[in-house]
Symmetry: C2
DNA sequence: CTCCCAGTATGAGAAATCTCATACTTACCT
DNA sequence: AGGTAAGTATGAGATTTCTCATACTGGGAG
């Protein structure tokens, strides 16, 4: 994680996603811009996040650590989107691990300083409600529709979503669980992609050779990673 | 829909679910208690709901009306839970149809009177954020886990959830879509339940003969209809 | 260094589920 | 009365996906 002291870039991100409209006070000064390099951990459960983050560029994934120590993929986020809002608002809420898939830029408000103010800020609270409500609606629609698709279609979308620089290297066990299919079947379909020349296997990861073919397969699948939907 | 003027019953419901803790002002006087009979429509899209409701007893289902006029099942609610909170908080949000599965009791705050006050009430806003956040977390976990189960297991849970007085009479087309399976396959499994004596077919609906068998099948399936989780 | 575990890998047969074709019924419109 | 659309119903064959069995690998624990 690196603090980026570039006010122009910060202002540009703020304007791009309407960050300042999410609050009733002036956050332009208060917010810091951070860069989380690809694969770095943005929030590590069970620690509580130190800042309220707002993802303005990059893709992230969210993990849960199960009681048995296993790690389960839960969800994906793309800009614009809050990170750590539940931990701020709901002291009871479990916290999850968030990892950068590719380089991620985030605007950050330190909770230690702004917690009380945020909890009293009705503009902010209403925004979070809207954000959560829409996310929920979309997730439900997405999930119930996606059940209808075949694994090769859903996997195609998943690979496009999680690959970084055309390198796909998710753990098969986690992916099988996330996509709700057996490990065996996942490997069949992956092998099939390789046979068709869509992927190339290199050691323990895969290179995406034909993103176009994957995109065509995934065409109808509405992956809809979570975003805040700028106003 | 019937207004129930029974202050004792109202107080009892308020206490049972901690309704008064969801707001920073005194709602005990302000709230009305309504009874929505089984199968009646609680909110009809695209109308905006007139009241902010809080379900305290009964089960409801939520529908979306698609562009083509078809109706899609979206979600289910059990007490305690808000109804109409998104329409209150997010003017952009589409509104959905909510129908009572069985007799439903709701506490109601007329939006015309309380809208502004609610939008300024940080206690209420924080509660809704928590409610939406938890609902989201659970939905995601539930959906991704449930993909792994076979239709007979998921259908068993679905029947238990939607049956009223052991009568199951959902439209097969809607259910197939909701559960993400083909109409054909749904009918196969239903026919199988009948053959096993778990269901009995009577005209165009089914009687649940062996809820115990359904419950056993559904045992591991975490249906988790949405609730607010009392504090 | 060896043991053991998690993750990876592959085969074979079984099951769950899908697609397509075809009817019948009911409601509603004209 | 005829026409149409949606929902219901059932069969046959094709695909998708699962379960189980079996091995190989790399890395951490002792």
């Amino acid at each position: 994680m690196r603090l980026i002291q570039n006010d122009d870039l910060k202002r540009q991100f703020i304007a791009e996603w309407g960050y300042d409209h999410q609050f009733s006070f002036d956050v332009v000064q208060a917010a810091q811009l951070y860069l989380f390099p690809a694969k770095s951990i943005i929030v590590r459960a069970p620690d509580r996040p130190r800042d309220l983050l707002y993802l303005v560029k990059g893709k992230t994934k969210l993990y849960d650590t199960l009681a048995n120590g296993k790690v389960a993929l839960i969800d994906f986020f793309t800009p614009p989107c809050f990170i750590g809002e539940m931990e701020l608002l709901d002291p009871e809420s479990p916290s999850f691990t968030v990892q950068a898939i590719e380089d991620c830029w985030c605007l950050a408000l330190p909770m230690a300083t702004y917690r009380e103010q945020l909890l009293r800020d009705t503009t902010f609270l209403r925004r979070v409600c809207q954000y959560l409500g829409r996310k929920n609606t979309r997730n439900i629609k997405t999930f119930s529709q996606n059940q209808a698709f075949t694994l090769s279609q859903r996997l195609a979308g998943f690979i496009l979503l999680t690959a970084n620089n055309d390198v796909y290297e998710e753990k098969h066990t986690q992916v099988a669980q996330y996509l709700g299919v057996s490990y065996r079947h996942l490997l069949y379909v992956l092998a099939d992609f390789v046979k068709q020349g869509v992927l190339e296997k290199v050691g323990h990861h895969y290179l995406v050779q034909r993103p176009d073919v994957l995109a065509r397969l995934a065409r109808e699948v509405d992956w809809a990673p979570t975003t805040a939907e700028r106003e």
